[in-house]
């Protein structure tokens, strides 16, 4: 690390309507440095980076970037093109990929002159292959991105930035969808590149990687920069203090005796569109007072399992038993009626109807309940009252229960879903990636609620790619790989990691009919 300044944000401010997303933020970045940008959900991290990259136009402030010669130059604002030209690359929190195009095309997009009548992809491919070799970020270049796994997509996003020969790389929650191993590899590679002069800003909610890989930490709170600290001097406590102004409550798991089985799967198969979302001959039992952790690299059948428990996927064979009663027909309605609470992986896509009000989203799963309707007409007052109670109990913060759910921040959306699920005292809870993208405080709140439900007698299926989370919460761990589930007899990170990679199998993987169906 040198002291050469490569980037300086001066007094950037941005407001959206009444929300002040960034309030006069200053930030500097030095050559070869890895700077972590931290803050709660909605603190304004993404907004700040979006202004730097030209997606958003700041209300006030300037950005200066060092040119090739190291001279600071004012960056024209509001133009991603200018940022790219100045050597800034950004990996977006939400993928900005064209799914109908190959990875190659996504990477090359925008770097060719549009008036060209022919393309020279040979040179581009060679260059990308060089980068892939150099960084270890490999993807299949000719497959449409729509068919890649999330992890692969994340790699495409990063390759996009690197292909442009960036000197400054912004990574907005790059590891939210990566496994810990993938994340480690990524940061090791990035470390190598910083030694060659790359400067990096990365945003993350995972303190483990922040502490391991950054040199400096800047913290935003409510749009203001509240402090900077050298990573060497920081620990989890200090950072949490800076972020939220208070300590994060500890979530302590107490041992409990499991009760009667609440969910049993016997030889259940689910056929998805591909092997990725299929399940082969699954056997599984979840008891009351028990959290069963499903560990695995995403795309190994988790979505099929989650779909099954949510009622979205019908089993092609096998028996599903809920609390000693076989489920005749697996549908969302039947699962809800049988007392299954579902926390979906993609909360925006499956968890809520963003254009409808918070209050309406709170009752969407029980429209036939006489508390919600009578004679087919909604009891508006009861629905509002219910929502006010739940938002208070679960601390869902936002513009009010009558406002569209879309306006809530990610963390609050998750709390809204938790309120909806837990309020029904479910016997079985499916928690699919329940803390993904959430800040520490919100994540620990989710964990606390899950443990509370367990104490109250629920059985919980916790699907997560975050092994730390599973090891911290689960009573038993099952590893899912290639559509098959194996119980892990150990709680050793290393050993479970190998099982997740499919390198330890108790028996030969069978060829199932799932793929040909």
């Amino acid at each position: 690390m040198t002291d050469t300044k490569v980037l300086s944000l001066n007094g950037l401010s941005k407001r959206f309507g009444s929300v002040i997303a960034n309030d006069c933020v200053d930030l500097e970045l030095h050559k070869g440095e890895v700077l972590a940008l931290l803050g709660e959900n909605g603190a304004g991290k993404t907004t700040l980076m979006n202004m730097l990259f030209g997606h958003y136009m700041p209300d006030a402030g300037t950005v200066e970037v060092a040119d090739e010669a190291g001279q600071m130059q004012a960056l024209p604002l509001g133009h991603p093109q200018a940022a790219l030209a100045a050597g800034i690359g950004m990996v977006h929190q939400h993928f900005a990929l064209a799914e109908n195009l190959s990875a190659l095309n996504n990477i090359v997009l925008g770097s060719e002159r549009l008036s060209l009548l022919r393309r020279d992809l040979k040179a581009a491919r060679a260059k990308i292959e060089r980068i892939m070799q150099h960084t270890g970020l490999t993807v299949t270049l000719d497959t449409p991105v729509g068919r890649l796994s999330v992890g692969e997509r994340q790699r495409v996003e990063i390759l996009k930035a690197l292909y442009r020969d960036v000197r400054i790389l912004v990574l907005d929650e790059p590891t939210a969808v990566l496994t810990p191993q993938e994340a480690d590899t990524l940061f090791e590679n990035i470390g190598a590149m910083t030694r060659e002069g790359l400067s990096v800003i990365f945003i993350s909610h995972k303190l483990r990687e922040v502490l391991a890989f950054s040199q400096r930490i800047a913290v935003l709170r409510h749009g203001k920069k509240v402090g900077e600290i050298a990573t060497a001097e920081a620990d989890e406590r200090i950072i949490a203090r800076m972020m939220v102004g208070a300590d994060t409550p500890e979530t302590a798991r107490q041992e409990m005796t499991p009760g009667a089985p609440v969910l049993t799967l016997q030889d259940v198969s689910v056929t998805g569109r591909s092997k990725r979302d299929s399940l082969t001959g699954a056997n599984l039992t979840v008891h009351a007072h028990e959290i069963l952790g499903i560990a695995g690299v995403s795309g190994n059948g988790q979505s099929a399992l989650a779909g099954l428990i949510s009622g979205l996927n019908r089993p092609t064979s096998g028996r599903v038993t809920l609390a000693a009663e076989e489920v005749a027909q697996v549908t969302p309605t039947n699962m809800i009626k049988a007392g299954v609470g579902r926390i979906p992986e993609d909360r925006h896509h499956d968890g809520m109807v963003g254009a409808m009000s918070v209050a309406e989203n709170m009752v969407i799963e029980r429209l036939s309940d006489p508390e919600v309707q009578s004679a087919g007409f909604l009891k508006k007052d009861a629905i509002t009252a219910n929502a006010e109670k739940l938002t208070a109990d679960y601390d869902v913060r936002g513009p009010g229960v009558g406002a569209r759910a879309r306006l809530l921040s990610g963390g609050n959306i998750q709390k809204m879903i938790l309120a909806r699920v837990f309020e029904q005292s479910p016997k079985l809870i499916l928690a699919n990636q329940p803390t993904r993208g959430l800040d520490m405080l919100a994540a620990s709140e989710v964990a606390r609620r899950l443990l509370e439900a367990r104490a109250a007698g629920a059985g919980i299926v916790l699907i997560s790619e975050d092994l730390d989370e599973i090891l911290g919460l689960a009573d038993r761990v099952v590893v899912i790989h290639d559509g098959e589930m194996i119980e892990a007899e150990t709680r050793d990170r290393e050993a479970i990691g190998l099982m997740m990679a499919g390198e330890v199998t108790p028996h030969e993987p069978q060829q199932s009919g799932a793929e040909t169906q």
Binding site: N50, F53, H55, Y56, M57, H79, P80, Q81, A83, L84, A85, M90, H92, H94, A96, L97, A98, E99, N100, L101, N105, N106, V108, L109, G110, S111, E112, R113, L114, S115, L116, L117, R118, R119, K160
Partner: protein, 314 residues
């Protein structure tokens, strides 16, 4: 049965199919280009009318045949620009804007025609495109009459299929158009202009649509009539989906529709006494639906179709 076989074997049938397909080829290519960029253009029916009127009138005013083609394309582009401005930067409903453009383009064309020619009893004729009798090639058995006795306008349509295919799949511009139709953020994040690409695609697509209309008054016929477009634009909207947004399949779809239509007139003359004529007239529409149902599962929509995009908003 023999009759159908005889018809299918005859060169005049295939020549007719290609002729009937020509305006549809332009229209479906135009609609494809718009939709690939994420914009549904229901203005197509009106743009057809405008193309038919303007192309014809330009020739009638003495600008020459290719002058007419150009004029039609420019007029189509102008309505395309209107639709693009309404739907791209302003992000208004693509359905309504499209139907509005159809109504506007149609009524403006009719009004202009009537105001310019208030007292015609029989619409004036122009010297329209003639079949290109290409020596030697035209005399080839079967292929000669089918392919080489079409007008230059039909050749232009076939050329456009190649051109659109090439641009979409082999140039940076085409790849960018495909990207913007799938996810505008992907284009924005790479420093390209979402608005520029979409507006450009809609304008170019609308110019192509107008050529479809112009073919009717400048090649298929030689004068302009109210109502002569007769739903051809709407057919193209259906054909794009049938074609799964691929230029090659678009050509195939248009030819199939043309063939159904050509077969329809021929069969009607053969067995017209036995079966109500409506059965034949409805056949291409019914078959289009059947084809759609069969192809539906495989149709890959431009994901961002119908969704407006605003810079700096989510």
């Amino acid at each position: 049965m023999m009759d159908i076989l005889n018809i299918l074997m005859s060169e005049s049938f295939w020549a007719a199919s290609l002729r009937i397909a020509t305006p549809l080829i332009f229209g479906v290519l135009g609609a494809l280009l718009c939709e690939k960029s994420g914009v549904l253009n229901l203005g197509i029916e009106g743009i057809f009318v405008t193309g038919a009127m303007v192309g014809w009138m330009a020739v009638w005013l003495g600008l020459g045949l290719w002058g007419g083609v150009l004029a039609a394309a420019v007029a189509g582009a102008a309505f395309g620009l209107l639709h693009a401005i309404l739907t791209v930067p302003l992000g208004l409903s693509q359905h309504v804007s499209g139907l509005g453009v159809t109504l506007f383009a149609t009524s403006l064309s009719y009004f202009t025609y009537r105001t310019a020619l208030p007292t015609v009893s029989s619409p004036p004729k122009i010297e329209s495109f003639r079949a290109l009798d290409i020596p030697v090639l035209s005399d080839l058995p079967f292929l000669g009459p089918v392919l080489f006795q079409q007008t230059a306008f039909t050749w232009l349509a076939l050329l456009m299929v190649l051109l659109v295919w090439y641009v979409l799949n082999r140039t940076p511009l085409g790849v960018a158009i495909q990207a913007v139709g799938d996810n505008p953020d992907s284009v924005d994040a790479q420093g390209l202009s979402v608005y520029g690409l979409r507006i450009g695609a809609v304008v170019a697509g609308s110019a192509l649509m107008a050529l479809g209309g112009a073919f009717l008054t400048m090649s298929a016929f030689d004068s302009f009539f109210f109502g002569m477009v007769n739903g051809r634009g709407w057919i193209c909207i259906a054909l794009v989906i049938f074609a799964s947004w691929r230029p090659g399949k678009a050509l195939l779809g248009a030819l199939l529709f043309g063939a159904f239509d050509a077969l329809q007139v021929r069969l009607q003359t053969e067995v017209g006494a036995l079966v109500p004529s409506q059965v034949f007239i409805a056949a291409p529409y019914v078959l289009s639906i059947v084809a759609l149902v069969i192809a539906a599962r495989r149709a890959d929509y431009p994901r961002a179709l119908l969704t407006p995009w605003f810079k700096g908003q989510r």
